[in-house]
């Protein structure tokens, strides 16, 4: 599918970075403000979908691919399981909160919760972006 007009392309160039930054902010502050890994991950996916929609698939063909999206999603899932299984290595139960809790209401606090949020944010963002590539921009030819 083709791209959009010049106005949309200019605004997208200015704004896509800020949308990505907003998604990262919601993921990182998941233990202090509403949001968390799921909301931030979907916003990150939305930033990349905006780039594909406004520039068209022909221009993005050499920059994005299915393989990179699947790789990132698998890395996110593995990171979540490693963070959770670390408790087993320390001789206690699964999902043990092994990092000290720190003072409340600060950014660096609450044990493993920020790490788990980052892992889920990467996983959800990459997964939903791969789904959009398959549904909207795949090379599946309609007339066979």
């Amino acid at each position: 599918m083709g791209g959009m007009t010049v106005i949309v392309k200019t605004i997208t160039r200015l704004i896509a970075g800020f949308i990505f930054l907003y998604g990262v902010y919601i993921v990182l502050h998941g233990h202090l403000t509403p949001g968390g890994g799921f909301a931030g991950g979907v916003i990150i996916a939305a930033a990349f979908i905006l780039l594909i929609l406004s520039f068209g698939t022909l221009e993005m063909k050499e920059r994005v691919s299915y393989a990179f999206g699947s790789l990132l999603e698998s890395i996110g899932g593995l990171m979540f399981i490693l963070v959770a299984a670390f408790g087993l290595l320390l001789g206690s139960y699964f999902f043990l909160n092994f990092i000290p809790k720190g003072t409340p209401l600060r950014l660096v606090s609450a044990g493993i919760i920020p790490l788990a949020n980052i892992a889920i944010g990467i996983k959800v963002g990459a997964g939903l972006f791969s789904i959009f590539l398959a549904l909207g921009a795949s090379k599946y030819i309609m007339k066979e």
Binding site: P34, V42, I49, F80, F95, N117, G127
Partner: protein, 174 residues
């Protein structure tokens, strides 16, 4: 609570329009109206986490529907063809029975606005000291009930795998 009832009426109207209308792209936009009303109602019942997730997920749902509809066809070609009466009649009989039994069952729930919070009071009182997180919902889904989040991660992985497998290119290999 007047705005809650107005939003409920708007949501039901948009849902009926989305199912009955002939143009498929207009049905996707009505779906967006339903999702948006659900997100505002999440704010009105004091659930900001859910409101953020619902807004962005509803936008992505409309984008997915539009991506599929724009690749195929705009028009629903089944309206006006010879209608079948048997599924509609069976549906209305079942729907009436379901609604009557649900009205009896809803009487046993606690009143709307006065929940019994036995386990939740433990999570609220001890959440900050035991986990260190100020967001009680985040401490529930990632510390007290982390297995459910692991299950959700597996389900999302499976759905991405399913979509990529269904849409792969079938080539002829010699």
């Amino acid at each position: 609570m007047v705005e809650l009832y107005l939003l409920l009426i708007a949501m039901l109207g948009a849902a009926v329009v989305a199912i009955e209308i002939k143009d498929l792209l207009a049905a996707a936009v009505s779906m967006g109206i339903v999702g948006f009303s659900v997100a505002i109602m999440f704010i009105l019942v004091q659930a900001p986490d859910l409101a953020i997730v619902q807004i962005v997920v509803e936008v992505l749902t409309v984008v997915y529907f539009a991506a599929v509809i724009l690749r195929t066809t705009h028009i629903d070609s089944t309206i006006g063809v010879k209608p079948q009466y048997l599924p509609t009649i069976v549906y209305f009989v079942f729907g009436t029975l379901f609604l009557i039994i649900a009205l009896y069952a809803l009487r046993d729930l606690p009143r709307f606005g006065f929940p019994i919070m036995k386990v939740a009071s433990f999570y609220i009182n001890n959440g900050l000291t035991q986990t260190g997180a100020a967001n009680v919902v985040a401490s529930i889904i990632l510390d007290y009930r982390g297995y459910d989040t692991l299950g959700e991660a597996v389900v999302l992985f499976t759905s991405v795998l399913g979509v990529l497998t269904i849409m792969r290119r079938l080539g002829k290999k010699e």
